[in-house]
């Protein structure tokens, strides 16, 4: 019996048979997935987390990277995920929370390159927490253990800047000189040497001299170029001293004692303020020197060979 394609039975039954066939096999095609279920693999989850990170949505990125680590603990990218968790905390200013994930990567990751990146980032984290000694310790460790000269040089370079921040100019100069000759140009060592020699030209005040001069109320402030403060300190302390003297002289010990107590506080405050002013003057002067040094010796992307340095285009942006 011949069946023609335009036969009614063909038109009715073929689509029904096709429908039944695909309805039966569709669970097989979908695997064990139940209707309405979504399956995400490790690669998708990692990309999802990285998407948030690149959009600077750091808290969401942290949550998704942690989800990635929880559901795919054996994935080779787990250390990268931990590193990015630390980086996300760092970029969002939560430096204390950044320490643990970065430390874990720095200590345990089998990837040497990733370990070094984590160490450098960890050193910057400590710098932002003003824990300069920990930063120097980490950088020294990198300088001693790194196999590539450019990484050792970067550690010396960074350590030099930390010593500059601590106003230890000579030690900073020594660290810059430890950079290997072939990398003097990328790290602009000659420009650094030249600018470091200018440091003595920046004015400084002697805090002890400021304190000594404050024996005469206001003189310490005047030495620190705070003339309004000096005038007020002189007038107030002189007035209080005279008032206390007059009170005691007139037999009014209670009032004299009260004025003397207040006067003693302002006299001590005058000395303390002058010493603090000298320190603040020196701090501001040193910061101007650092700003000038950064402007004159900035390391740029174009001179650091790609894939040879850890931080491409490293700039001193943590001071």
């Amino acid at each position: 019996m011949k069946i023609k394609l335009y036969d009614t039975r063909v038109i009715l039954w073929v689509p029904m048979l096709l429908f039944l066939f695909f309805w039966v096999i569709s669970p097989v095609l979908a695997g064990n997935q139940k209707p309405g279920e979504l399956t995400i693999n490790a690669e998708q989850q990692y990309r999802f987390a990285m998407g948030y990170f690149k959009q600077n949505q750091y808290f969401k990125a942290i949550a998704e990277f942690e989800r990635f680590i929880y559901f795919f603990p054996d994935n080779p990218k787990v250390d990268e995920a931990k590193y990015h968790i630390g980086l996300a905390y760092y970029e969002s200013g939560r430096f204390r929370e950044a320490i643990d994930p970065l430390s874990e990567v720095a200590e345990k990751s089998p990837d040497q390159h990733l370990r070094t990146r984590a160490l450098f980032r960890l050193s910057e984290t400590f710098i932002n927490l003003a824990d300069y000694q920990s930063a120097i310790t980490l950088l020294d460790h990198v300088a001693e253990t790194a196999k590539k000269p450019v990484i050792r040089d970067e550690a010396h370079y960074r350590a030099g800047w930390v010593y500059l921040k601590l106003e230890q100019i000579e030690i900073a100069r020594q660290r810059f000189r430890m950079i290997s000759p072939q990398n003097h140009h990328p790290f602009r060592v000659q420009e650094l040497e030249k600018e470091l020699s200018q440091e003595k030209l920046y004015p400084k005040k002697n805090p002890r001299l400021a304190g000594f001069l404050s024996i005469l109320p206001g003189a310490g402030f005047a030495y620190c170029e705070r003339y309004q403060d000096a005038l007020v300190a002189f007038l107030l302390n002189t007035g209080l001293i005279l008032a206390a003297y007059e009170s005691f002289d007139s037999g009014n010990e209670a009032l004299g004692g009260l004025i003397a107590f207040v006067g003693a506080g302002f006299y001590a405050g005058n000395i303390y303020g002058a010493v603090a002013s000298a320190h603040k003057y020196n701090r501001d002067s040193h910061q101007r020197f650092l700003d000038q040094l950064k402007a004159q010796t900035q390391v740029t992307l174009s001179v650091v060979p790609e894939n040879q340095g850890i931080m491409l285009g490293f700039q001193v942006n943590f001071f």
Partner: protein, 123 residues
């Protein structure tokens, strides 16, 4: 005795003129301080709660001098806290306005001078 009264009055007036503007509290009634008031903090609390409000927000610094005083007393104890308070009162609203950074507080520009800006060299 009568001749010495003007000296005493002048000294007292100088104290009032110089320190009371600087004790102006910029945070009237908005501090949520602990109910356990230390003996050294008590006079400052009295001033903030009952006297400062009379003349309005006049301190050009942030934190205000009364807040600064309380923070210094809590951080460094009564002796250094008192010395730092007196130092702040000497400096408030003068050269510090030119030398320290500015900050916006409730829509107004103030000079930022926290306790940490004055004890960094020994703390």
């Amino acid at each position: 005795m009568l001749k010495k009264i003007p000296f005493i009055m002048v000294a007292a007036l100088m104290i009032l003129l110089i320190i009371t503007p600087c004790f102006a509290d910029n945070d009237h009634g908005k501090h949520q301080e602990s109910s356990a008031v230390d003996a050294f903090l008590f006079p400052i609390q009295i001033f903030r709660n009952y006297i400062s409000g009379a003349d309005g927000n006049r301190c050009p610094m942030h934190p205000s001098c009364s807040t600064y005083s309380m923070e210094a007393l809590k951080k460094h104890g009564p002796l250094m806290g008192w010395v730092m308070t007196c130092d702040r009162l000497l400096r408030c609203g003068r050269d510090e306005l030119k030398l320290s950074p500015s900050i916006m507080v409730r829509g107004k520009t103030r000079t930022y001078d926290p306790v940490s800006n004055n004890d960094f060299w020994w703390d």
